[in-house]
Symmetry: C2
Subunit: 243 residues, 2 copies
């Protein structure tokens, strides 16, 4: 029924990202651009967090009125999608080195972690479905690339990429939320102290034991992260060995 030239309707924002926006010819020169709006929004989110990202705030950042943004962006959701993809900028030029698939996957995951550390608001974003924006997909492609030569099925590679990035995202989210919970670096009692207050030994024998026995090694978020990642990679190794 649809004429062959009728473009399939894309999810919000994707038409911009994939360069399918007509770009009219008449009328005054645009004083703004999607890119400048997105980068202003990213700057605001980096500085003040996602919760204080409003259309008015972004407009102030670029020196225009709030409503002018809507000439370039359909709504706030679309802007968020664009910000997400903007954070994956540079994936095109990315080259992942390493002798083994394990090294390369580790590096790939580390890059993702770095991005999440630079843009903490990414962990609070309402991530709609799998990534379908060009930079994100390029990054996925780079991830698949790391497993060339392992003999894994392509579908399994994709699942592994999904697994690792969901893990990386979750860990970053937890680290972020925890950091935000202690406002002024005041070494607020944080997790274990609370647990010691709240846990009683009979209801929570194992957690109780962990809470009271821990002060030996003050381990870092990064070590926690690597521990989990190595468990996943061990699982991948087992899968590769299976065949």
């Amino acid at each position: 029924m649809t004429a062959p030239d009728t473009p399939v309707p894309l999810p919000p924002g994707l038409d911009i990202l994939w360069g399918r926006r007509p770009a009219g010819r008449r009328g005054p020169r645009p004083g703004l651009s999607v890119e400048s709006i997105v980068s202003a929004a990213v700057a605001v989110a980096d500085r003040d967090g996602l919760e204080s990202l409003s259309m008015a705030r972004v407009a102030a950042e670029v020196g225009f009125t709030t409503m002018s943004l809507y000439r370039y962006v359909a709504n706030k959701d679309e802007l968020l999608q664009l910000m997400w993809d903007a954070s994956a900028e540079g994936a095109e030029e990315l080259v992942i080195e390493g002798d083994t698939w394990r090294d390369r996957l580790r590096t790939w995951s580390g890059i993702q972690r770095d991005v999440l550390a630079q843009h903490p608001w990414l962990t609070q974003m309402p991530m709609a479905a799998p990534p379908m924006a060009p930079n994100s997909l390029t990054f996925v492609e780079r991830g698949l690339e790391t497993m060339d030569g392992t003999g894994l099925a392509d579908v399994d590679k994709l699942r592994i990429i999904g697994l690792i990035s969901s893990y990386t995202l979750s860990e970053a989210r937890m680290a972020n939320d925890a950091a935000r919970a202690r406002p002024e670096g005041v070494e607020s009692p944080s997790f274990e102290s609370f647990l010691r207050l709240l846990l009683d030994e009979e209801r929570f024998p194992r957690l109780y034991g962990i809470a009271w026995s821990e002060p030996s090694s003050p381990r870092s978020d990064h070590e926690d992260f690597l521990f989990g990642l190595d468990r996943i990679l061990d699982g991948v190794a087992a899968l590769i060995g299976d065949r």
Copy 2:
């Protein structure tokens, strides 16, 4: 400096959950209760999604005015925390069966997945830091329990629990977001069709291959989930074998 009787300030909502709210004696009988408010809120979120959960909506559900809720709950964030913990109700009576740690962990993860399926809004919640509410912690305790006898260090058990639940949560989140993207079950083109439209072979050789070769096996979300879980469990098995 703090007097011994001075209660340590708990994060919002936790004082209610752990039964540390004074509960005054004078004044009129409360017409509401925290429990009724929370369960009304859960009902609203189950039915209409988290985005349409407002204090006014909850108030209408229980037949009171908006502001009356604030006599029981400090703010909306606190209500969300209470809802989160309420979703883990029943963890106390939970008994996880299975002959091997692997079976038990699988079951444990499956229970979490079921809860997330029943309360999809959990995947959209701003999860502040690790769970410190009683039901959530009880569920963690049950998770630790599944690995009794594996000889793993307690700290590692806790990390594994964290790893599995972050994975389970992420998978549920993606499944949810994808489901919400196609509004009326209209078999919207969804992921692969879009990929076929957007990917060109030279920029995305591997994704291109996956997108065009796939229709062989229409696999389900559940299989995807189990695949990733088994990778993680393989990793745990490797860790257990290491010692």
